[in-house]
Symmetry: D2
Subunit: 334 residues, 4 copies
């Protein structure tokens, strides 16, 4: 729309879009308003019908298949509120906690420790995706309750995974951020349910999905009108066996250039060995990541899952210090 | 159990397993009965407690993490009934049909054509997993109804994908075989729902999942007491760009050696270009595949999805002829 | 050139090409003669200058970057002579022998065994590419002499690897076919030396090279005027760990469609475990491979290299029988 | 050896090693001397024969297959002299220059520009490994002469690739550092020639080689008594298509932990698009890289190779500034 397009002009365009059988998405910047049109309809969408409407500056077709996620549609950074800060803003935010919620004590102890070290949010799994049906699958709703208790004690918002579309409403009752795990990145039923919830979503890249696949999955959530989406690079599957996955550092600047959504990194899963987590964390922040998600466990040797990649609280404290220095070196805070 | 173990001895062992907090699975061969014990319990499972029970020949711990899927547990081939034949038996069975159910006419026309060419079952998608939220997502329940009509006309059982755990009961009403797609291979909620349904399951390998991952996902279904599971190799993601995916031929004999479950191949997705589908089909059968699943469309140019990899009916007829000759060369029929 | 282009017309075109600073390559079919033009020159190659010359039917620019290797340049199959047969012809030819030449006795014993089973040529390494500098590196020239002795005894031509461009003349003295190994597929110095030798070349695909990369490397050899090149699919590197490499079955029909050069398969390296070599061999032949190269060792347990993937002679005999049946099923012999 | 082992005790042990048919490598630290034994011999190497010798503290067998490259053999960092500084020391050193040496003027202009921006050495290819035989293959010896001229003008040492073992002596005449390219990482003939030259070597990781493969290839060079080896991570081949390769950030801290050799990063090839080179450079240094190698071209649009990934001199200047700040944040200089 033109810089001074009237509210009426804008609503007329939106009405026309609806009338033609499409969905309109509004992106309001400081000067400009951009109206995205998505969907399929029997009525062809004719540029000439819109180009001549009042207040319309320009009608263009996007060359990328993810309109709402693209920087064309929303040139600035999307800011996702988290604990009084904003993911995607100048401050690098760190989410930390154990892989699984194992007990009330464990999660509260860890929450206190990561808060003290400067974490912005608490992570912890109540529903765990496990390769084997015989592995510990998480404590379910009880785990969610313990997470909520940890939030009460520390004030840290809670990030936790949801695997079952039918449980999205339940998890929303307890969690501040719903995590969609790597194995579910193309579980479109779950993506739709997450979009509909209007809850903040942390969407992890699948281990064999391209950057474009990730943006298309984000588009599923955005297309439901839910704009609070964070993307997470967590390592991809390659032939290399020295580490659990291969952290795709390239994906950080590439995503930052293609999309307005915040991009965070998960060094714990990406490398899979705690001794390398600090190095990967520093690298991710130096390359432009907006945040980190880190596995911390008070006693990694006793962890029910992922102990090999979990940091002890004191090591996490040191990581936070290193991240702060690197963030400052690239003109940010942490 | 010993060769002549009495029914009482067997039921005593099963009772003891339940008492200890585990689940017992029975595999009855011509001579031998094997009782699998799976699960986790506070009671440690002591070999000595069982070794001395009546009728017990041997107690052993498996080194593979997928007990029920392994050949140790069930040395012979599992036979999965399909249209009067058996997947996993001597005859190579072919499932064929369009990627998506597009209309009543299209699915009936295709069903008649593939039946005439010798297909054993009809495939067709009513719920389609699509990378983009703006692509055609399938006709849903209407598509299922059309599939059921096509079955009435041709007698071919229906294989169709289910993506949403909540829709498993609905899809079971119409379909003979539930397909779990590659993107959902580690959607554990869906695997559990599929297992509980006790319906025949066609489980596709994820594009970046190992053979062991596939067997672990099968184990989720088997652990629900559902033994009618077919595995499907459909190509993995690699660096090669000349084809859609890389068909992992090695996986066919490796799977046949590790598991008793039938193993089928999906050349259409594995290579992604119709002109190579016959060659890959012949190769898969020569290497030991128990069956094939092939995309056939009367007018591939007009297909709403995957037209590039769909065979026309006459070409499918030629494929069936080639498959028959190769099957005979390896001592089977088709 | 036109169907009845005179010898003079052809030589005039070739002279003009040379005059313009390019290299001309002649491909003579039953009816048609095609003249390929390759190279770089300061003189632009103007279509109009050639289109009007006597006997010229058509001037066209190729869209693939490997002109001499492509089917556009040479539509029929190139036939590479081997022991009185022709690789690329109707008969599927099998090259067999140990990974390394370990002793005079070992190579002669193996040569006799594989000949008896029906092999067309003998393989065996005298110079071995080894990941570790401390592993057995082959017997060098002594190994070549033993190979030549084995040829004298059995009449089987010898296929052996050359790694050092400076040793190409030496290896040519003893070997009938020079093998360029997977690790050297993009060793352009070696490719040029192999091309210049005018010896028959067996070029293996690198473990992370695309089909197009392979054809470009073949082009290096062809550009030296050496047309006797066989290509070999030997497995690529992927995330799968159950097998040594992933055999890319797709590559067989894709290569057969893009190039006129013979395409063979190396199941031994592709799967890396002897128990699966027969299945992969059958699959490769069913999909259209022109030949196989198989590791055979009289006592695999004592092999200095690759014992895990080597067949015993009796198993190789059974493989030959299976290959024959599959070859016949696809209209060939073996 | 014991802390105060005499020179005689050390030379006696070395003599015994030679007598037994092995090669001895000496690593002298501040306190300790370690003697590495490598090779194969008919005489078994008995621990007890050595454990009782004068001055011997401990005899142990390494579990890694790369002895000389491992931190067990040489616990401290190896420092490789470069232009008065040391690669592997506290200062992060940057090597920069064009992909190919295109003309005398181009290389001198670029050398002056990168020197001014703070580069420690000049890179430029005279012999270029090209996928196509018809692409520009480099200016050969003339290119080496121009590089030497650029060194005279700027004082920057020259890093250039050698592909042909026979040309190692020639390239050594002009170059300060021999580069072994990714495609030649397992060209063992070339590795041996590079080792024998006793010249400083920059060894790049192959695009589908593991970290362990890279260390084994370094071992080839070290086993020739050549200790001046730098390793380079330059991106691996994966399924991702958004970038040329996938930069394996994990490899940086993993290599730093396994080996004493300096580890540098090549962001230009790893990401393949100039707009992301700064981000990857910052990430690599933050994760612990000892140096960088960066493609710089005065006019990337006119480059004969790799223009898409080359920085203009002013952008390189900005990169150096960013690298300095990140280096300081991790306790180093640049």
């Amino acid at each position: 729309m033109k810089v001074k397009a009237s509210a009426k002009a804008i609503s007329d365009v939106i009405a026309r879009i609806k009338h033609d059988g499409y969905v309109a998405h509004l992106s309001e910047g400081a000067d400009h308003t951009i109206i995205g049109v998505v969907g399929e309809s029997a009525t062809p969408l004719l540029e000439e019908n819109y180009a001549t409407m009042d207040g319309v500056e320009n009608v263009m077709q996007l060359s990328v298949p993810y309109e709402l996620a693209s920087r064309h549609f929303h040139p600035g950074n999307s800011l996702v509120p988290l604990n009084g800060s904003q993911m995607g803003g100048n401050k690098v935010l760190v989410i930390a906690g154990p892989c699984s919620v194992e007990s009330r004590e464990q999660i509260i102890e860890t929450a206190c420790a990561v808060k003290e070290a400067g974490a912005t949010a608490l992570r912890g799994g109540a529903f765990k995706p496990r390769t084997s049906p015989y592995s510990f699958q998480g404590h379910g709703e009880k785990g969610l309750q313990w997470l909520a208790e940890a939030r009460e004690v520390t004030g840290l918002p809670v990030v936790t995974e949801v695997m079952d579309p039918a449980l999205v409403p339940l998890v929303c009752q307890y969690a501040d951020v719903l995590q969609i795990g790597a194995r579910n990145m193309q579980n479109f039923t779950l993506l739709n349910a997450a979009g509909e919830s209007q809850h903040t979503i942390l969407l992890k890249r699948g281990m064999s999905n391209t950057v474009e696949d990730l943006l298309m999955s984000a588009e599923y959530i955005l297309a439901q009108g839910n704009r609070r989406v964070m993307l997470c690079e967590r390592g991809i599957r390659t032939f290399e066996k020295a580490t659990r996955n291969t952290f795709d550092l390239n994906a950080i600047p590439v995503l930052k250039s293609l999309t307005h959504l915040p991009v965070i990194a998960d060094p714990s899963h990406a490398v899979g060995l705690w001794e390398y987590v600090e190095a990967i964390s520093r690298g991710a922040v130096a390359a432009g990541a907006d945040g980190l998600i880190i596995e911390v466990h008070p006693r990694p040797d006793e962890a029910l899952s992922d102990g090999r990649q979990s940091l002890k609280p004191e090591r996490f404290k040191s990581l936070m210090e290193q991240v702060r220095r690197v963030a400052e070196a690239v003109g940010r805070t942490a």
